[in-house]
């Protein structure tokens, strides 16, 4: 028990004020840098619960996905109940809950792209990668997802791969891209 904490006044909505400061937690998945970063971000917030999203983001950046074990480790670091971390993480669909491939392919299927043949493109990708939408290839290279409008309507159909736009897509272009990434490994 540390002695420097006698002044903490409980704040409504905040559960558990046990020992602030930097507790020594053993983590299996999260590395020391991530733990240090989370603890640094924690210091910015007067109410501990506010640090839920920054903590989840740090963990996601390092690991690439979130699961129960990671929530447990984050809970030990941040002293936010595991439950609230899991609630927040499941609320945001862009935190993946299982491992993703190296290349995240997000194909826009909104109106402009759909009119320009996004459905065909998607079916072609499924066929080429031998997976369905939402799945990851066996070699953990590609994950295929559908995205809402990515504001690339002027060059439809388009897809976003790892934060990069690939526009005016044709089968040949897609072949070239995928084969290129496959060669990269």
């Amino acid at each position: 028990m540390s002695d420097n904490k006698t002044q903490t006044q409980p704040i409504p909505g905040l559960p558990h004020v046990k020992s602030p400061g930097a507790p020594q937690v053993k983590t299996r998945i999260l590395n020391a840098e991530s733990v240090a970063e989370i603890q640094k971000k924690m210091a910015r917030y007067p109410v501990r619960k506010s640090a839920v999203l920054p903590a989840l983001t740090v963990a996601y950046r390092q690991v690439g996905y979130l699961n129960d074990e990671i929530y447990a480790e984050l809970a030990a670091i941040t002293e936010i109940p595991k439950l609230q971390l899991a609630e927040a993480a499941t609320f945001y669909t862009m935190f993946p809950k299982k491992p993703r491939g190296k290349h995240l392919i997000m194909v826009c299927d909104n109106i402009s792209c759909a009119l320009c043949g996004a459905d065909n493109l998607l079916r072609y990708l499924e066929q080429k990668l031998e997976i369905k939408v939402g799945e990851t290839t066996k070699d953990n290279l590609f994950t295929l997802q559908i995205a809402e409008c990515l504001a690339g309507c002027s060059a439809a159909p388009m897809m976003q791969v790892n934060h990069e736009y690939h526009e005016n897509l044709t089968r040949e272009k897609v072949d070239a891209l995928i084969d290129g990434w496959r060669k990269e490994g």
């Binding site: 028990m1 006698t6 004020v17 447990a72 595991k82 499941t90 609320f91």
Partner: protein, 864 residues
């Protein structure tokens, strides 16, 4: 918020009022109240789903629409603050339209499976749909055909807790369960996952909803999304009647409603009483009614015939009792008879017991404290004084500093624990806990002080000295000779001995001294300690220096544990009663024995000697729950004659010559006096099981067989009880500091771990073993160990652990038991907790009557 700001808020008592008009009626409410509060104050019906009187409003369901003049749209009344000159309409055409639309949207995604739903008949959605939602012009096509196997049902029933079934299809996402769990109970084991249409209520990842208050979540669910396994498909609610009842275990006196039909009680729910329970009850109270319907009940009197217990009639059993009691009385004299009664029995039984022993048999040997050892023999003990201080559970919620010492509050007083939480979250109060072990109640404490084992009084002395040193003590108290009164006598020495730093003690003392209405709570770790008198003196000193004993502010008490402990105290069911109590009792009983009586300790040693020959144990089970299994067992075995009355067969009934069947609290009318001294009546919910009798009736039959009569009719007995309760005055004394000398306990042997035997989280005493729902939570005697210790010894939850006691000179040397390990996420350090609620595992074989802390060794048993 700074401390001064908090204080300023609290020093302005004048309540500002707001006046508004609702449905043409002028109404004035406190400033800050919502429009819904105003409506409820005037009994104007406003439908709600997500609103609960004890939770903060979220406005999630939007069912409480009202029309307010000058607001362009309908407003949710639960989240709109009442303001001056508002004109509110609650039943206008626009309102009804709005509510109808809400019902329409809710029903859009709600299965029409009311026939199979347990909530059917008491469902808010049913009621509100009937009242506000009936229409033929819905914009959506509802499925008319209703089938059990609904194709649109996305989720199957899921068991998310030992006693909780979730049906997500029915959920209307009011978040009441999640909010109550976090706000009111401080538990984080149920949450809402995903979002929007996909939102799902589920247990915490990898866990179950198994908190002590989980039953309340089922009760407040406005639809049948959360249902209880116990009540599942049992009986329709319209086929039941309700009777009022009281929690028969804890001293909090939580109010219950029993739901019964013609044959038996089917469930218990809460009955909101702001003074005691705020409408939240513990699962022990909720599922504890099952002792009435359990299969394990004794149905007829049993008599030991040549070593075998044989079922007999009451007449035969009473014949044996009267013959043997008369023999003992005539040959050895009345003081050879002794009686022990359980404080979980009702007031009439307790009084009848007293009357039988003191009035009829002429023996002063009665006691109700069979769970404790080394009891005070002095009529004006400081422990007794502190235990009889007046205490108000509701005042806990409004006190600004709460100080808990030596109490695992959640297990001993679930409702006081909740009031503590309410104080913190509503009033921003300060909670200081001081315990030798880490407890759940300390979750939201400002400072959780963990003092060394067996140094309770040293810590309190530290607070005393700190108050004096800082000049914060009550000026009228003479603090001149304090150095001579206390050992150790300086703050530094105290801090060193108890292991809490001087700064933390000073901080705590300062906060207590600056408080307007402090609440000081001492609990079972004080009551159960053999140094209780010393600790009580230290506790008294703190309370005295804060001006609490003098009645200047706040409250301080050692809290009673069992449902009727306070009643037993007021009725004088212990030998060393005060002169006024003796006078009242003498007045009521025709005769009163002159000889001073033996308390529980003296009874045990007397039984091993020649002083006690026959004993009547009523409802208590000391062999299982008292301190030192072997000593008690040996004493009871050496008695000539032992009569035990109980609900079920226990280790104590196994030693008895005659066993009498008792009725449970659900089978007769009676009353309990809770820890505040509040006497609350409960009613019978069902017929008595078998030949069992309520305690007072069984005692009257025993008395009649001995040639006495305890009461002509029950009302006369009730009158006597009322007279005693009315005339009872808590002991008074002059206000001066008491001396409290600490003797350091011998150092423990190497590798030995301190062990506390007590109640499991979901059990109380020895009766709850009969409740199958509670066994779902805690199925067997468990050894709770901290995660730290568990990882060191490589123990996981569910592993078998051998517990050994190998202290050299004590009687319990060589005792060993195999218990199931339960890794607790609350406990820290090396302390072990073992549950004494299971007859199969007498963990009290490790506790002893002459040392403050019991030490054991544990070994993991490798799986074969």
């Amino acid at each position: 918020m700074s401390d001064t700001a908090t204080k300023d808020q609290k020093t302005t008592p004048a309540v500002e009022m707001v006046s508004l008009t609702i449905d043409g009626r002028p109404i004035s409410v406190k400033k800050g109240a919502t429009v819904l509060d105003a409506c409820r104050q005037e009994n104007i019906p406003v439908p709600t789903f997500c609103w609960h009187p004890k939770l903060r409003s979220v406005g999630a369901c939007r069912m409480c629409y009202v029309e307010i003049e000058k607001f362009p749209k309908l407003m949710v009344s639960c989240a709109t603050e009442a303001m001056n000159d508002m004109v509110v309409l609650t039943d206008s055409e626009k309102c009804r339209e709005g509510r109808k639309a809400i019902i329409e949207f809710i029903l859009l995604d709600h299965p029409l499976d009311c026939p199979t739903c347990d909530k059917g008949g008491e469902c808010d959605l049913q009621d509100n749909a009937f009242e506000y939602g009936l229409s033929d012009d819905t914009r959506f096509a509802f499925r008319k055909a209703r089938k059990i196997r609904d194709k649109n049902s996305t989720f199957d029933d899921l068991q998310i807790g030992p006693e909780m079934v979730r049906n997500q299809n029915r959920c209307i996402l009011c978040y009441k369960c999640v909010r109550a769990n976090e706000e009111a109970f401080g538990e984080y084991d149920i949450g809402a996952y995903q979002r929007g249409h996909n939102t799902e209520i589920d247990a915490a990842p990898g866990g179950q909803v198994a908190s002590l208050y989980s039953g309340n979540l089922v009760e407040i669910c406005p639809v049948g999304a959360l249902t209880s396994s116990d009540w599942r498909y049992k009986i329709r609610v319209w086929n039941t009647q309700t009777v009022p009842s009281i929690d028969p275990y804890h001293a909090d006196g939580a109010n219950l409603t029993l739901w019964k039909d013609a044959t038996k009680v089917h469930r218990a729910t809460s009955r909101m009483n702001d003074d005691t329970d705020d409408g939240w009850i513990s699962d022990i109270a909720r599922y504890g009614y099952q002792i009435a319907t359990s299969e394990r009940r004794i149905k007829a009197p049993l008599v030991n015939k040549n070593g075998a217990m044989v079922e007999v009639s009451w007449e035969e059993a009473l014949g044996v009792i009267s013959r043997r009691f008369k023999e003992v009385k005539e040959s050895q004299g009345a003081p050879c008879l002794a009686g022990v009664v359980s404080p979980n029995l009702d007031l009439k039984t307790l009084h009848a017991f007293n009357k039988l022993f003191r009035g009829a048999l002429g023996s002063n040997n009665v006691d109700y404290r069979s769970d404790y050892s080394n009891l005070p023999t002095d009529a004006d003990s400081t422990y007794g004084f502190m235990a009889s201080r007046s205490f108000s559970i509701d005042a806990v919620a409004s006190s600004d500093v709460i100080f808990v010492v030596g109490s695992n509050l959640i297990r001993e007083h679930p409702n006081v624990h909740l009031k503590t939480r309410r104080a913190i979250f509503e009033k921003l109060s300060w909670l200081y806990t001081a315990n030798p072990i880490v407890t759940k109640s300390a979750d939201c404490s400002t400072d959780e002080m963990i003092y060394n084992l067996g140094t309770d009084e040293v810590f309190l002395n530290g607070v005393t000295l700190s108050l004096i040193q800082q000049g914060l003590a009550d000026k009228e108290v003479d603090t001149g000779k304090i150095e001579t009164l206390l050992i150790p006598n300086t703050l530094e020495k105290c801090a060193e001995t108890c292991g809490v730093s001087v700064e933390r003690i000073n901080e705590c003392a300062k906060r207590l001294a600056n408080s307007k209405s402090p609440t000081l709570i001492a609990g079972e770790l004080v009551s159960n300690s053999i140094a209780r008198e010393n600790i009580a003196k230290s506790f008294y000193n703190v309370a005295l220096l804060l001006g609490i004993v003098q009645g200047k502010r706040g409250q301080a008490a050692v809290l009673a544990k069992a449902a009727n402990s306070k009643g037993a105290e007021a009725l004088g069911l212990f030998p060393e009663i005060s002169a006024t109590q003796t006078a009242t009792l003498k007045n009521q009983f025709q005769s009163f024995p002159e000889l001073a009586g033996a308390n529980w300790d003296a009874m045990l040693s007397g039984a091993q000697g020649e002083d006690i020959k026959a004993m009547l144990i009523f409802g208590a089970n000391p062999v299982q729950t008292g301190a030192d299994y072997n000593h008690i067992k040996k004493s009871l075995e050496s008695l000539d004659f032992l009569v035990v009355a109980d609900l079920k067969e226990t280790p104590t009934t196994a030693l008895a010559d005659v066993v009498l069947p008792l009725s449970s609290f659900a089978e007769y009318d009676g009353s309990f006096t809770n820890l505040e001294g509040r006497t609350q009546d409960f009613c019978a919910g069902m017929k008595r099981i078998g030949a069992s009798l309520p305690g007072y009736e069984a005692l009257n039959r025993i008395a009649q067989s001995l040639g006495f009569s305890l009461y002509a009719d029950l009302s006369s007995l009730q009158d006597e009880v009322s007279e005693l309760l009315d005339s009872y005055n808590a002991p008074e004394r002059k206000h001066f500091l008491m001396e409290s000398h600490f003797q350091a306990p011998p150092a423990p042997q190497e590798n030995s771990l301190p062990l506390f035997a007590g109640d499991a989280l979901h059990h109380f005493g020895h009766w709850t073993e009969m409740c199958h729902s509670l066994l779902e939570f805690n199925p067997e005697a468990a050894l709770e160990i901290s995660a730290d210790l568990a990882s060191r010894l490589d123990i996981q939850t569910g592993d078998s652990v051998r517990v050994l006691c190998d202290r050299g000179d004590k009687g319990n040397k060589g005792e060993k038991l195999i218990l199931k390990a339960l890794v607790s996420d609350i406990l820290e350090g090396d302390t072990l907790l073992a549950s004494h609620n299971f007859a199969a595992k007498p963990v009290n074989c490790f506790t002893s009557r002459d040392s403050r802390v019991s030490y054991v060794r544990i070994e993991k048993i490798e799986k074969q």
